[in-house]
């Protein structure tokens, strides 16, 4: 680092990440806001951070298995590590650095260190996903190290008190918690907590500062618009906002992570545990955020219903799949208790993406996406896609700008 400028030694970084026999080819490029570049298919996005004290980033993966969430964490804000790679044939995930598509993804505004990686022939999809996941985390750590001795230009303090103490503070303010749903359905739909596959966890408390230190890592590569990349977890805006209002309008006492599994028995168990835990820690109200859509809508609604039945008021945050005209039912499930819902946009809305000069990732895949929508490939080479193909377009943590309002 020289003042605010980050320098990367490409050879050193590549040497750090390519030492894996499963990698066939790897390269990296830096792209900037406004560049005539399309990145696709994006696998994950990670913010480089460095912990001067209090453990290492990404515990359970690149960091020691010890706890994080305290000490000093330095953030190279404005940069992002972006990994690409086609794990499965129908994968999407577009970042346009300029043009109309750029408006729909927050990563058109970051300086991206894009790692384009091909794995050896015969590598199975789940191994491919794992290789890309580890490359991304390792690269982010390597880059993050540059912040080690750098001077911070802005300092924020986040405090997370023990529960009893937290609940007794701020007398009179409503006791509010956050129910943080994690995608955990199987191959390409997974999230990890301290390295543990989230489908194996029972709902539990996590400190918001642990989340900032990379305790939650994305292994999710489908549903570009509303998957939570690792970057979104690190920068969860719901947590930021709850901290912001803490002590003024609300008393933000705890975050409960829960999963989104496939079987109905799992869904019932997780939502019941979540509701019980929320009651035990004395919540009066909770924000619930979903990840993904389809059967996770059932988890969202179960969480809502069971918390409300215990007298805990809920606000849900979700995106919509309401059809291209926005006229169809938005969610696959509903309940009368879900009377406070924030929409982060309709993922079925279509957009025309003009051709960009350069594609990083997989050119062929551009045709695949275009071919996926009959007649969407225009003669001038532009493609018409639903915004769900764009990374973060309808992010359900509210990271992006879209919403829908009822009048």
């Amino acid at each position: 680092m020289e003042d605010r400028t980050l320098f990367i030694n490409k050879d050193k970084l590549l040497a750090k990440i390519k030492d894996d026999h499963r990698i066939a080819d790897i390269d990296l490029e830096i792209v900037r806001p406004g560049d005539d570049v399309r990145i696709m298919p994006v696998k994950d996005v990670i913010e480089p951070r460095f912990k001067n004290s209090g453990g290492d980033m990404f515990p359970g993966f690149t960091g020691d298995d010890d706890m994080v969430g305290s000490g000093i964490t330095k953030v190279l804000a404005g940069t992002a590590v972006v990994t690409t790679g086609e794990v499965v044939g129908f994968q999407e995930g577009i970042i346009d650095m300029s043009g109309p598509g750029a408006e729909y993804t927050p990563f058109s505004k970051t300086i991206n260190i894009v790692i384009n990686c091909e794995v050896s022939q015969g590598i199975k999809q789940h191994i491919h996903e794992e290789v890309l996941r580890l490359i991304g985390l390792t690269a982010a750590n390597y880059i993050g190290e540059a912040a080690k001795d750098a001077k911070a230009h802005e300092t924020r303090i986040y405090e997370h008190k023990p529960l009893l103490e937290a609940c007794s503070l701020n007398g009179g303010l409503p006791i509010v918690g956050y129910i943080y749903m994690l995608q955990s359905q199987g191959l390409l739909h997974d999230t990890y907590v301290y390295g543990v596959d989230a489908k194996e966890i029972l709902p539990t408390l996590i400190s918001p500062t642990e989340v900032m230190d990379g305790a939650i890592v994305s292994g999710n590569c489908v549903s570009a618009c509303d998957k939570n990349t690792t970057y979104f977890h690190q920068n969860n805006p719901i947590i930021e906002e709850l901290y912001e209002k803490h002590g003024k309008e609300i008393n933000f006492v705890g975050t409960i992570i829960t999963n989104e599994n496939v079987t109905l028995a799992d869904k019932e168990r997780s939502s019941s545990f979540t509701a019980r835990l929320a009651e035990k820690i004395g919540l009066e109200a909770a924000i619930i955020s979903e990840e993904g859509f389809g059967n996770p809508d059932a988890d969202l609604i179960m969480n809502c219903k069971k918390l409300e039945n215990r007298g805990i008021k809920t606000v849900l945050i979700t995106d919509e799949f309401a059809g291209r005209d926005g006229a169809s039912q938005s969610l696959a499930d509903s309940t009368p208790e879900a009377d406070a819902v924030v929409s982060t946009g309709n993922a079925n809305e279509t957009i025309i993406l003009p051709p960009l000069e350069k594609v990083i990732g997989n050119d062929e895949h551009a045709d695949n996406i275009a071919g996926g929508f009959a007649g969407s490939l225009k003669e001038d080479g532009s493609i018409e896609v639903e915004i769900q193909a764009i990374i973060g377009a309808t992010n359900e943590l509210g990271f992006n700008k879209l919403t829908a309002r009822g009048y």
Binding site: Q185, G186, N261, T263, A265, N295
Partner: protein
């Protein structure tokens, strides 16, 4: 178990299953041995036959909507159902709303995305569908599977 996933088709039983790990191949064999498999040609048949089963007292084990792919982007679906004697309204509500969602997207998209799929993409979709069931059943039945 109702499915239109070719992995569960008896005709394909002898075919070499591409892309499955040893562990998953053994799960596949156990699923075939443990459950009554009804293989359907069309996705719609999977949903409608599941509804029939629910009307006859069946209870859904797995959710009929896919994970986070685009709704009905995946042309394959596998649904687990347990037999019972009384109508389970929760299961009925879930399968009815899934069918409604299916009709909504089928009429809008005519399942464009699934009609011109390459064999590789079909294989990937088949694997994803299997993986969801695998994850679910591993949780439900643990070491028995």
């Amino acid at each position: 178990m109702l499915s239109n996933n070719p992995l569960f088709s008896t005709q394909e039983k002898q075919n070499k299953v591409i892309g499955l790990s040893k562990e998953k191949t053994s799960v596949l064999e156990k699923i075939r041995a443990t459950f009554v498999l009804k293989h359907c040609q069309e996705l719609e048949d999977v949903l409608l036959l599941t509804r029939d089963q629910v009307h006859q007292g069946g209870r859904l084990i797995t959710h009929p909507l896919a994970g986070s792919l685009k709704p009905w982007e995946n042309p394959y679906r596998t649904i687990g159902i347990r037999s019972g004697s009384d109508l389970d309204f929760a299961s009925l509500e879930i399968i009815e709303s899934a069918i409604k969602k299916y009709e909504q997207f089928f009429s809008q998209q005519k399942l464009n995305s699934s009609q011109n799929l390459t064999p590789e993409t079909r294989r990937d979709f088949s694997l994803i569908d299997f993986s969801l069931i695998y994850a679910g059943f591993k949780n439900c039945y643990g070491s028995d599977l």
